[in-house]
Symmetry: D3
Subunit: 259 residues, 6 copies
């Protein structure tokens, strides 16, 4: 079976591709987190894994197993960590997971790594994991690993946002389990999207600060931060293809010059 999924390959296939191609490894970093009444809790690792898979069909790349557990959900980004089902790691734990995986990939001889984040809250712990890995690798005398890191939604073009949000884009902050993720879900894992259970909550309105312990009453009971009813499979296809295309382009460009 031809596969680009690292877990499905033998070590010999992996080694061969590393030796014969300008191979990149793609590492999806996700979460297990409530996504409303209609999206599966794995959304944040299932979507970036699917995008990575799409990219691996375009550029020489393989997809490492996703990090399926991420950092604690924040009320203003993901609804908060108090929902049942949301299963999060401490920040330090996530940092170490990212660090350890990167160091091992470098040991294998990987020179090109893309770390694709699918869960807002992971951002800085992934950055720290990358920084610690590169530091330890310098200690080993390994200086030629190039890492491209991003949140996949940052590749959305204004044109696509206009198309997806004819009445105006509320901002990525409130896009948890909302139009973007739901549309993507309809394209990527339609069998897991329960559109019939979509709750018609209003968009959350947050003040410009957090309160700890979490003020749960600020969060819509469904866990959805802004209405998802505008989601369609067409929008999902457009977004998905845009991410695959534009990220592939970016990686091609950045990795052209890697060792």
């Amino acid at each position: 079976m031809k596969t680009n999924m690292m877990a499905e390959m033998t070590w010999v296939e992996y080694q061969n591709r590393l030796k014969t191609e300008p191979l990149a490894v793609l590492l999806p970093v996700g979460a297990l987190e409530q996504h409303g009444h209609h999206l599966p809790m794995g959304t944040d690792h299932l979507l970036p894994t699917a995008i990575c898979k799409g990219i691996a069909d375009r550029v020489p790349a393989i997809v490492a197993p996703p990090i399926a557990y991420g950092y604690k959900s924040q009320p203003r980004m993901g609804g908060g960590n108090h929902f049942p089902g949301t299963t999060s790691l401490d920040g330090g734990t996530l940092t170490l997971v990212v660090r350890d995986i990167i160091k091992e990939l470098a040991r294998h001889g990987v020179k090109r790594l893309a770390v694709m984040n699918g869960h807002c809250e992971n951002l800085f712990f992934a950055i720290e994991g990358i920084d610690l890995a590169l530091r330890d690798l310098r200690y080993e005398g390994i200086n030629d690993l190039k890492i491209v890191r991003f949140d996949y939604w940052d590749f959305t073009t204004p044109a696509t946002l206009d198309k997806c949000f004819p009445e105006g884009f509320p901002g990525f902050a409130l896009e948890h389990a909302a139009v973007l993720e739901t549309s993507m879900g309809l394209h990527v894992f339609p069998e897991l999207v329960r559109m019939e259970r979509l709750v018609d909550d209003l968009a959350a309105v947050f003040p410009p600060y957090d309160v700890h312990p979490t003020r749960q009453e600020w969060v819509p009971p469904s866990g959805v931060l802004s209405p998802a009813k505008g989601a369609t499979v067409e929008k999902g296809r457009t977004l998905f293809n845009e991410y695959v295309d534009r990220i592939s382009d970016a990686l091609r460009k950045e990795f052209a010059e890697a060792a």
Copy 2:
């Protein structure tokens, strides 16, 4: 879609099942590790995840996303950590991942947890993660989480071993990427098993000690510790069914009395 995979469920479905069933969560702990020329590197998380799925069809249970990266491969158990592709975590990292996940499940209200290990080397770091989680949970006043932990192969009956190894069982120590795992693979993910690439190495012969740094010359170049050529899909089916049956029985028994 009816599913027992936690990542595929919504938080509401999960919460409902927790409230209405004597639900167990099954957590597969695996690895990304060389498994010879013929088995995929994800073998150690793919197999226990499949067994967990089988169990969840028999007892009230859902399957958490597997921990796909495990502890460093040891020469006498998994061929050693020097192979390209083998991607391992530090012991402390794995311990923290296990600890954090368990604490979150307990926060959700889970009272029954099974931690199924699929990679020998994880054993003690999983135990320590469990111990640290239960300690922190005591601090929170949570004392009613019951955890059953095991290496799935410990449920093999002598009768099945006799059937699988008509010429005598070499011991679990050398069963890395060998008859047991290969047979299981033929049953669970036949499309990922490359029987035609099976290397005909002799069984590894190890002294009763380790040498660090790893003596790579002690390990068969293929990474297989004893010949896998006796593997068949029938043996795999027998083993798989035995694990599902016997572990289901054990969980039923142990969890009958849980809070």
Copy 3:
């Protein structure tokens, strides 16, 4: 001397105020980081400390010594950590500092705490420090500490942004050592602002991803991410007063109901 700075008070004064007022403690979290050729490296802790001082003249509050060293500067937020002078902590270190200070304040009997961030990159490590502190405090049986956390610039009103950026606001992302911080500096510590050394770099243009190790050529050599020449002391006064007013209001509201 009447003072609201915790470091300048005796423990008896502090204890008296805690006992007799609905006292809040304000904790500025900053950095020591390059801020172009014209702003001092302490900008990110000097500004929030000054705002906290202003707040403490309006609401019953005292100001704890600022955390003067923050998380590593990121190219797209602060120019990157490669500049001489930028002196950063590992993420885990910053988390522990925040955690430890909060636990001590709670031990004193503090029920109201505001954590004011003045350095973008600190965000998640401060959040994690807060979360770990509240967890440990729960273990001690302390459940009545309420924490309000924010980045001070999130209190800027659209009207003020319009006034400060007559030609359009480039976004907070590029506002490192630029119009907002420079104007604030002219108001708060004019003797430390070297307007005559202002470099006339163009605004930085970043792709939607990071590259590690840092692509230093992406960052304007001065370290300023967008032109600061529109900065004036009037804008600084407006911003400063707006922050003091609006944050005081928010704290008054949130802390009214605290234990």
Copy 4:
């Protein structure tokens, strides 16, 4: 404004001085800790910062922002950590702060560092931070950072002790918030010293051991370990000048030969 305070300098000024002078960085390590009814809680970071400033006027040096939070107060050295206001870090946290700052300074190209301790209890955690930093720097191939570390009071001459304590010196152990620190305070921050509130406690008498949890009844209720009434601004000036002079001499001598 000409300044030697690192937080008040631009990165360009800092870089220039590093390139053109045999520049030392001075890092004050202090605490936020009760100091009786008459001295401010910041005494242990305010005093060493002032001494560092004095030194930076004599030798080519700049002063890094002080570490304002230190290790837990011990009964026989600082009255114990049970006083409200005393805000301490875990030992490991302080070690990491010291380690991280030193590594960053070395990255800037600093070759001469003085770590001035102003809080007895910090001693070993600062030493460990230095040791860990130098170890990590060796891993980076940086071997030319020279660090001079001391508690500033160890530079007191017997002659000055005689002058300050005409009736005999009770030892540094009991000099918490007593004659030395109070006199220094009267010289350095007179507006923060409340001599009128000086409590006339007897000197503490401790057995040759600690008891945990702290025996609070062993500590004078004011938190002062021996009477401060002999404190004068003249003694403070003498001590301060002696520290500035003698430490400047020591640094000049030690750093003359640095890379």
Copy 5:
């Protein structure tokens, strides 16, 4: 006094032997753990220390002080950690102790190290300590330390097992405080063995899984996992001599080629 115990030697003697002999250091890793009513709690560090001492009379070697506290006792290996007297370290603590000691020995110039485990549960934490030490040593440029690691009982020959267990060997798993350890104790520290208090418990029967928190009722109340009444001083002498001989041989062979 001629001694091979490192703690009894002066540093000059140690240095001389390191310089003039192909010296190995032997590090016993043990525990303080219940061993039934008849064996001392130090059994797991006393036995390997004695074996190391025996080896040091045969090959050029010295014995470092044993690590006297080990990892938490597991029900199926050592009866469980709930017994009074059993005094265990967290896994991470043990790992760091092993790591730190090894790094120091390497700094001294040691090239040959044997880590002898006397407590089953230590296995993986010792392995991780070794791995972390070798990693840090690589960072220092030290690559010539060779480490041989083992559980001493893995050197038992089948012939000896036959002799010790005329009615069949129950497996090492149940050999806690049973025939092997008791016989060894009778040979090595007869004055500490209370044969008259031997409890006549049946062998423990465990299912193929653990339950956490520990099911204490599964463990014989004495803490002995299988009957020890077959223990004799002759068996102990045979075992002890076999370990000394065979381990000496292995070390001679492995260390012949060390730097």
Copy 6:
């Protein structure tokens, strides 16, 4: 065999004594460190263990296995960590060892613990270990463990110092491997003291500061910080008896009121 050494007792004996006596546990914290040409490297754990043993003959107490590896030797206290043979732990490691042991003793039901330090440099890491243990124990609801902590030499009376140093006491700081420790050694382990190898170095003269990396030329090449030639077995006996007597008295007094 009647013994007070915890490692030599069975768990049943230990449990019985805990139940029937107001039992204290004595924990010696030492080091493996150069002690000149004439004293063994284990001096700092051998001496406090012997004193503990003496105490346990006078008050109801047992002696836990000593912590045989301590914190890094400092030039002005122990000659520095650069000597071969000196085998030290990181500060954080030692803290965790102390923490873990204390928590386990408390789990057994111990209410009275004495932590006796025999190596100056351990001081603060032992204190932190105690503090962390008591914190964790509070989380478990255990609040009745009383800990007495000390450096044994702080129990020396002025009269004894006069007797031991007829020409004046140079201070404990320089008493490394000098008159006190050598005399004690002659009394406690005469067979391990090589008086004939005593080096006639002058006393070390240190400035009031440390330099890192260590200025090895400041330390007498023998590692002895002040001349040991005045050492006698009589002084050793006097010191030893004084420590046993006075510490026994202190423990009797402090523990009389423990739970």
